[in-house]
Every structure is written in structure tokens, then in C-alpha cells.
Amino acid sequence: MGRAVSALLRKELRLELRTPQVIPAMALFGVTTLVIFHFSLQRDTVEGDLAAGVLVVTLLFAAMLGINRLFVADHEEGGFDGFLLAPVDRTAMLVAKALALTGFLVVVELLLVPAFGFLLLGPAMTFELLWKVAAILLLADAGVAIVGTLVGALAIQTRARDLIVPLIGLPLLVPVVIGAAKALAPALDAAGAGALPGRWLAILGLYDLVFGLVAYAVFDFLLED
């Protein structure tokens, strides 16, 4: 399966590098959302629970754009058929797409987290704060990528793709929102970066594991005729 995953992943990255579509759209949408939060909250700075909520919701909405676009080239240019004709494990597409989406999310976060720090966050962006945020977001990204790939593969088969992704994806990702927001809140507190809450990190990890297994079990059927 490694060969197929590598081939698919290289193709995904090459397509995004050749004609950047997903990352610029996600980043622009995310920055716009932060600006909207900045004005609509009517506060110069946020911290703690509110800061965590704003950051997680912004990243989640930006992720929806990426999920919507994840299978478009494969669907419109016949890549699905080309892949299905190859003698490879179909789960390779799940793994490659989830890895690609994780990569896109990380790149977008590299832009959005500093923007969030500049536009809204009260506490200073210290190195300690950054690595804690990075650890939490990486766990959240894995969940978003797994569920996003599953929902994206389901949605692309339908005419109402743009509706299916948020309608199914957002409810499924509520545990990620809760887990990530709860884990981020102490780190973003005005009193200084608190310790990483192990319980919420464990919940995020468990979510990733459970949905990883679910996705592995059902992905094959999503690609079936």
C-alpha cells in the first residue's frame, strides 16, 4: 500500500503546487473569519475559552473549504476511475487524501495562528504557547482530515456536494471542536499558558483512532459503484 499512498500523495501535492486552489482559499477564508470575529466581538483581545473557541471555529470553517475541494480533480478529470482500475488497496486513497488534507491544514495554520495572535489574542505568542497550540491542533487536524476525507468521498458522489460536506461533516466534527477548544483554553489563558490538559488530548486521540478505524472499514464501499 505504501507505493500507492506515495504515488497519490505526490500527485495531490503536485496538483496543489501547480495550481494552488485549496490552501489559498482556506487561508483567505480563515483570515477573513478572524477579521469578522475581531469586529463582531467588539473586543481588542480575547483569551481563555473565548480565544480557544474563535480559533477552533475559524480553522474548522476553513477546513470545510478544503474538504469540499479534496476530490474535485479526481471526480472531474477521471482520476477516480484511473485509481479504481489499478491493482492497489483502495484504502491507499483514504490515507493519501487524509495526509494531504492534514498537510494543507498545517500550512494554513502556520498562517492563521500568527494572524490570530496579531488580530485577537491577548496573551503574547511565546514559544511555549506555540508548541502547545501546535500539539493540540495536530491532534485536531488528524480528526478533521480523517472525517473530512470520508465525508468528501461521500459528498463527491452526489450533486449536492457543497451542502453534504457541512451538513454531515460539521456534526461529526463536534467532538473535535469540543476537545480542541477545551484543550486550548488553558493554553490561551490570560494568566499564562497552563499545562496541557491530558484528558482532552486523550479524547482527541481516541476520536482520531475510532474514526480512523471507521474510515478504514467503510472507505472501500464509498468508492464502490
Binding site: 507505493r3 506515495s6 480533480a73 478529470e77 482520476g79 485509481f83 482500475l85 489499478a86 491493482p87
Partner: protein, 229 residues
């Protein structure tokens, strides 16, 4: 002992909703033989190719390719058929070389085969250009190269020389023509050219097989012409 037929269909049926796109199609194709499928638009030609390629599941009857039953043993068939449909199955923003290299990795084919095929279909000079800059004929040549990249014993070809000029037709004919030595299923609207290369003719209308058999006085231009009336 004689080799088993490459393709065996017995009462093959495939539906889209309530509509039967293929209805009770029965035929046998021996190794190395060419089946030419005629029929007006919507007759079921493309559906037949997609069922044989394992991209669609049969809804009734039996279908065996290279001795493997579909869909139960579809995984054994994948990688042994070369499929050339109406869509080229190429990413428009990647070059022909990048597309073929991607499929080569999926099929575990050496990279040298990519360069060999680019040369053979006359695309070596433009191999690094994005596919969306190609003419329709160039896209079709790249698609032919993709279809034969893994040297499949069975070719499923939906009007393979559409969009090609005579010189390009000659180029791809070496790869997917009768002389390629592969078992082929080819759709066509050209009775003269189609009959010339057919070992078996299948005439479809409304999903039903109205003509099945080797070319003969009964299975000839008149019978094929009647399919379109």
C-alpha cells in the same frame, strides 16, 4: 488444454435505476480475439466496457474476465485490463509525463516504460507540458499510452481513434490495434472499419444484444446499419 475464454458473459444485465442499460447479454470471446461493439448512442456500449473494466457491478447474469467472476473477483482483474473511455483519465494540470509516472507507480511499472510510451505515441517533445495545453488528438494519444502502460492482456476501447489524424491513428494502432496481440473489446460506429477488425460482432440496441457472432453475410453492414434506424 485450450486456454479459457478471456471474456464470458451469460445473461449480463446492468440497470441505472429502473432503466436496463444492458439486458441479458450473452457472448464468449477467445484470447487474442477482437470484439467490436456497434450500436447507437445510449445502446449500452460504454456500460458494457465499464462492467468489464470492473468499474460497474453487474446486476444480473454472470460476467467472467480472464476466468475471474465479476464482481466477486474484480480485484484479480484490475491491472489486467487497459481501459480507454471517453474521458482520458488524465489530470489536466499535470503533464503527460507526470500523469503516466503517477499511473506507472500505481501499477508498479518501471519509469523507463513511461519514456518509451511517450516516444511511441509521439508526445516526447511535449511530455512536460500540462495536459490542458494539448489538442484533443494529443490528449487521446496520451490516454492511449496510459491505457497500455501496464501492458494489459485485455483492452477495452471506446472509439480509440476518435479525434486522431491518420498519422496519429497509425501510431496508436501499433499499441491498441489488432496487431497488438491483445484481446480487445472495441466500440465503433464505423461498419467498414469495425467489421474489418472484428472476430466477433456485438450489436446493441436499447441494451439488448440484437447481433452476436463472427462477421458474415448475416452479421454485416446491413444488419449493423439496421441498429441505427
Amino acid at each position: 488444454m485450450a486456454a479459457p475464454p478471456t471474456i464470458e458473459l451469460e445473461g449480463l444485465t446492468r440497470r441505472y435505476g429502473d432503466r436496463e442499460a444492458l439486458s441479458d447479454v450473452t457472448l464468449t470471446l477467445e484470447p487474442g480475439a477482437t470484439l467490436v461493439v456497434f450500436g447507437p448512442n445510449g445502446a449500452g456500449k460504454t456500460t458494457l466496457l465499464r462492467v468489464l473494466a470492473t468499474l460497474l457491478r453487474p446486476h444480473g447474469g454472470t460476467a467472467r474476465v480472464l476466468g475471474h467472476a465479476l464482481p466477486a473477483e474484480a480485484w484479480r482483474v484490475r491491472g489486467k485490463v487497459g481501459f480507454l473511455g471517453h474521458a482520458p483519465l488524465l489530470y489536466r494540470d499535470l503533464s503527460a509525463r507526470e500523469n503516466l509516472a503517477y499511473y506507472a507507480r500505481l501499477h508498479d511499472v518501471p519509469a523507463a516504460r513511461v519514456e518509451e510510451l511517450l516516444e511511441r505515441v509521439g508526445l516526447a517533445d511535449r511530455a512536460s507540458d500540462p495536459v490542458h495545453t494539448y489538442s484533443r488528438g494529443m490528449v487521446q494519444r496520451a490516454a492511449v499510452a496510459r491505457a497500455v502502460l501496464h501492458d494489459p492482456p485485455v483492452l477495452l476501447l471506446d472509439e480509440p481513434t476518435a479525434n486522431l489524424d491518420p498519422a496519429a491513428t497509425h501510431l496508436v494502432d501499433e499499441l491498441v490495434g489488432k496487431g497488438s496481440g491483445r484481446t480487445r473489446v472495441v466500440t465503433s460506429h464505423d461498419p467498414v472499419g469495425g467489421l474489418a477488425e472484428a472476430d466477433v460482432v456485438l450489436g446493441l440496441r436499447g441494451g439488448r444484444a440484437e447481433i452476436v457472432g463472427p462477421p458474415s453475410r448475416e452479421v454485416g453492414r446491413d444488419a449493423i446499419g439496421a441498429l441505427y434506424r
